[in-house]
């Protein structure tokens, strides 16, 4: 459940500082406490250690996502994403993977949808290269979600220049703009 109690004002930039536990108020979601929707939408930052020797496999996975989206630009549509940022970095000789996603569904639904998407396409997930990832992830969604929750590093500050706006609303606004511009062209 996302709480949008009042229609929020997109024209007024907003920032939210988030307590250490990752939420402002404890609300139970299906798989654990709900992470809040902030001016920067829903999202997560998953940080996990890469299995030794798998760094290249993680990088290659970036190429396969690029190819999948080029082949079918809407293949990730169900995840309701704004942005993905994937980063690899080292700490004391170990390689870590950071998966940052900004999206409009809640954390648990995103993960459920992602498992279904990966299972359906038959492709594996980048997570199989990470330490501690459940081997039976395809059939054990709760274990997949637990891994995500265990490795989530909640933000302590999130900011939106155009806060509370979903990707669908942005696309709608751009479509209106395009239609308006087309209309003006027709009137020349």
């Amino acid at each position: 459940m996302t709480d949008t109690a009042q229609q929020r004002d997109w024209s007024r930039p907003a920032a939210t500082a988030i307590p250490k536990e990752g939420y402002l108020k404890l609300e139970q979601g299906r798989y654990g406490p709900l992470y809040p929707r902030t001016p920067a939408c829903h999202g997560f930052t998953i940080i996990a250690k890469v299995k030794p020797g798998r760094e290249q496999a993680v990088r290659d996975y970036g190429k396969s996502i690029e190819a999948a989206v080029a082949g079918d630009p809407h293949c990730l549509e169900v995840l309701k994403l704004h942005y993905l940022r994937w980063v690899l970095f080292e700490i004391k000789g170990d390689t870590y993977f950071m998966y940052q996603g900004i999206f409009d569904t809640d954390f648990d639904k995103y993960t459920e949808d992602a498992v279904a998407l990966f299972s359906k396409t038959g492709i594996t997930t980048v997570f199989v290269n990470l330490e501690g990832f459940p081997e039976d992830w395809r059939t054990n969604v709760p274990a997949f979600i637990k891994f995500m929750r265990d490795h989530q590093r909640p933000s302590f500050l999130e900011y939106g220049e155009y806060p509370w706006v979903s990707a669908d609303e942005i696309k709608k606004a751009l479509r209106v703009k395009a239609a308006l511009s087309d209309m003006l062209d027709q009137m020349q």
Binding site: Q7, G29, R30, S119, T139, N140, V141, S166
Partner: protein, 443 residues
């Protein structure tokens, strides 16, 4: 091949019952509980039995257990731990997730349903009131013989007139969109999609993703079983009719408002196919009344508002992974009919229904949490399901319309949760297994 002789009939069949009764039981000791299971098991029909005798039978019995109930029967700790977390916690612990807050909070529930003492339900569907009374009295005798089984509460079911088709107290035709299980022998009606893998509803079979995993152990206990989410939803018929009158000047306009809340006319005719005027013949025609989609036929919600009950509970082609979110619905209405010209009489009436699925968290809880109660479903901003969502009078309901949509603010609650529970519905062999447990000593 489905084990029709082991699966409880409620999972696969609809019986021609006009009445019935639910009894909610508590086991004071394990031996008495098991003796009850052994005795009632004789009355529980499998799908095969129910199908073979549907014309002659007068009553049909199903039984199911809460997690506390399985524990009370003496199921061992290791086995109890193999049940999924949400079932172990029970419906009351999941209240916030389900939208059971405020007036719907378990603290306000009736009949002891929120109590950890709730261990089992026995569901009786009966052809008529005489048969119900006979069965009630027979069960009462059984309980009286057993020292240690008590009835926490009961609920008598009553169909609402007219009796020639199933509908709720608001008048909406029911049972129009049910998933069909592969191998059940039933054919989906046009528009209902292909049959679904049995594992979506019955434990021990492949589901839409493949072979089943993480089933409760031992296998004999889970095989051919399922989970049932019970909901007792009071329907505020007076408030509903007042609302229709407030928003529609003529009977036709009021019917349209009712249709816009649901996504179908009360006759069952889908708004996608009959957007402007009711078509009762379409509503009653199972070959036509479910044959539509939203993405192509009504993308903006001009026929069916984006937030309507039907569109939330079965978004069809506008949601992902629909095959993993389907649910079987069973149940009935309770309480007396409120005549059309009568004002609210304060008598509780509503729906006492079961949602049957293989995963409460993936199917039932998802539907309650994301579809019914997410205020931002389809970017709606400040809405919940107008029929079953948690409404506290602060939300709105938008009806798309050219040139400008109609926005209703301060939507009242038309329903209220008065009780509920998560049950495990075992197969008949599993019932025998439960009846013969040895006080936690079984392996």
């Amino acid at each position: 091949m489905l084990a029709f002789d082991d699966i409880q009939h409620i999972l696969l069949t609809r019986v021609p019952a006009l009445t019935g009764r639910y009894e909610f039981l508590s086991f004071r000791n394990a031996a008495a509980g098991r003796a009850w299971v052994a005795a009632i098991r004789e009355k529980v029909q499998s799908a095969q039995q129910a199908r073979a005798s549907v014309e002659t039978n007068k009553r049909w019995v199903s039984v199911a257990f809460t997690w506390n109930g399985l524990r009370a029967l003496g199921l061992n700790v290791a086995s109890l731990a193999t049940f999924p977390e949400e079932f172990r916690q029970g419906m009351t612990a999941r209240a916030e997730i389900l939208g059971d807050t405020g007036a719907n909070h378990p603290d306000t529930w009736v009949g002891g349903l929120a109590s950890p003492e709730l261990h089992a339900i026995v569901i009786l569907f009966a052809r008529d009131a005489v048969e119900r009374e006979r069965s009630r009295s027979e069960h009462q005798k059984l309980i009286a013989q057993l020292n240690g089984v008590t009835v926490l509460s009961s609920l008598d079911l009553e169909a609402t007139p007219p009796f020639d088709y199933a509908h709720d107290h608001f008048g909406y035709r029911d049972r129009l969109s049910q998933p069909i299980i592969e191998g059940s022998g039933e054919e989906p009606t046009p528009g209902s999609g292909a049959p679904l893998k049995p594992g979506e509803f019955i434990l021990g079979y492949p589901d839409e993703d493949g072979p089943p995993a993480n089933l409760p152990q031992p296998e004999i206990l889970s095989r051919n079983g399922s989970y049932m989410a019970y909901r007792r939803l009071q329907e505020h018929v007076g408030a509903f009719r007042d609302f229709l009158r407030q928003h529609g000047r003529t009977p036709e306009e009021q019917e349209l408002v009712a249709a816009k809340l649901m996504g179908r006319w009360r006759s069952g005719a889908p708004l996608v196919l009959a957007p402007d005027k009711d078509d009762p013949a379409l509503g009653a025609d199972m070959q036509r009344n479910n044959d539509f989609n939203y993405k192509e036929m009504d993308p903006h919600g001009y026929a069916v508002p984006l937030g309507s009950h039907c569109r939330r509970m079965n978004p069809r082609d506008t949601a992902a992974n629909m095959n993993r979110r389907r649910m079987i619905r069973r149940g009935a209405t309770y309480g007396t009919h409120l005549p059309d010209d009568a004002s609210e009489d304060g008598v509780e009436r509503g729906i006492a229904a079961f949602v049957i699925c293989a995963s409460l968290i993936r199917q039932f809880e998802f539907a309650q949490n994301v579809w019914a109660n997410d205020k931002n479903f389809h970017e709606l901003g400040n809405e919940r399901d107008p029929i079953i969502g948690n409404q506290d009078g602060t939300l709105e309901y938008k009806i798309p319309k050219r040139p400008i949509r109609k926005k209703i603010t301060g939507l009242p609650a038309f329903t209220r949760a008065r009780g509920g529970a998560y049950f495990f519905l075992p197969g008949l062999k599993a019932l025998r297994y439960l009846a013969t447990l040895g006080d936690g000593r079984q392996s």
